[in-house]
């Protein structure tokens, strides 16, 4: 999924993923949590890591301060 719109806001699926990542989750757990295929989650995680919206901690991903702030916009 493409996470970030051209205007800098998040796509609905990225918002759902970031909201779920208020707690650390592995990609498979995140896929189950927001009911999206694993391949889309892997792509999304890659994009959100690059944008600094999430970070990796011991094989799981969690929203950063920037990521949490983005959800509210």
């Amino acid at each position: 999924m493409a996470c970030i719109n051209p205007d800098g806001t998040l796509t609905p699926s990225a918002k759902a993923a970031l909201s779920a990542l208020s707690l650390p989750l592995a990609t498979e757990e995140l896929a189950k949590s927001i009911e999206l295929p694993v391949f889309r989650i892997r792509s999304s995680v890659r994009e959100m890591l690059k944008a600094g919206l999430i970070e990796e901690k011991e094989g799981k991903y969690v929203a950063t301060k920037l990521g949490r702030a983005k959800i509210k916009r």
Binding site: A2, R42, S43, E47
Partner: protein, 220 residues
């Protein structure tokens, strides 16, 4: 008289090979930028179509969408491809939903630079120099290319054969057997032929349905 040298260059088409790792790629799709590795751990059918907004391809997309739930039950994802742009793909899948009432649930690669098409030998210049043929690549959870089907531009693919192929490959992996011609899920399978004389003698005593030592079937 000036001698004219006519040089003929023939493009060599690289083809992926069965039993080897499927060529890796990263591509723009209708569902974001995807890599082959994003599908690892599950089965993947990568398929190409000649062009968006064409009638045979439209029937195929609707047919792929129809078998998608059956594929999901088998742990298989679908990934389409053509050399059209992502905007064209988006417009086409929206058109299919609007005019035909069929939602396309799988991503479609916009392979404008033909990078993935070239890696997988999808362009057959004898058919078309600019469009991909109707190719199907079955890639297993380890990323190994397990089966390929190539159809010409004029002939739409048979979805039941694609489902049958997936069932056959998964049955082979699970039970270490082979499947005979026209096999369908639930029918008897082929027991791999013995490799030694001793095994051949033993084979006829093992309770399989045998025509001869090399030709035995069993029910799963």
């Amino acid at each position: 008289m000036e001698e004219k040298i006519i040089s003929e260059t023939r493009e060599v088409i690289s083809m992926p090979r069965l039993g080897e790792m499927a060529p890796d790629f990263e591509a723009v799709t209708t569902q974001g930028t995807l890599r082959l590795e994003d599908f690892k751990g599950g089965w993947l059918i990568l398929f190409s179509h000649p062009a968006d907004f064409t009638p045979v391809c439209t029937t195929e997309f609707m047919a792929f969408a129809e078998i998608y739930p059956e594929l999901k039950k088998r742990g298989v994802e679908l990934l389409g491809l053509s050399v059209d742009s992502v905007s064209s793909h988006i417009a086409w899948v929206r058109n299919i939903e609007e005019k035909m009432g069929v939602k396309i649930p799988f991503p479609v690669i916009a392979d404008l630079d033909k990078r993935v098409a070239t890696l997988y030998g999808m362009i057959h210049p004898g058919e078309s120099k600019t469009e991909t043929a109707r190719c199907v690549f079955v890639i297993d959870p380890e990323g190994i290319l397990r089966a390929m089907i190539y159809y010409p531009l004029t002939t739409g693919r048979n979805m039941q054969e694609i489902l049958r192929l997936i069932d056959a490959l998964q049955t082979t992996d699970k039970h270490k057997v082979a499947t005979p011609a026209n096999w369908k899920s639930g029918e008897a399978v082929i027991v791999p032929p013995p490799n030694t004389q001793e095994m051949a003698e033993q084979r006829l005593k093992e309770g399989y349905e045998c025509k001869d030592w090399y030709f035995c079937k069993k029910n799963l």
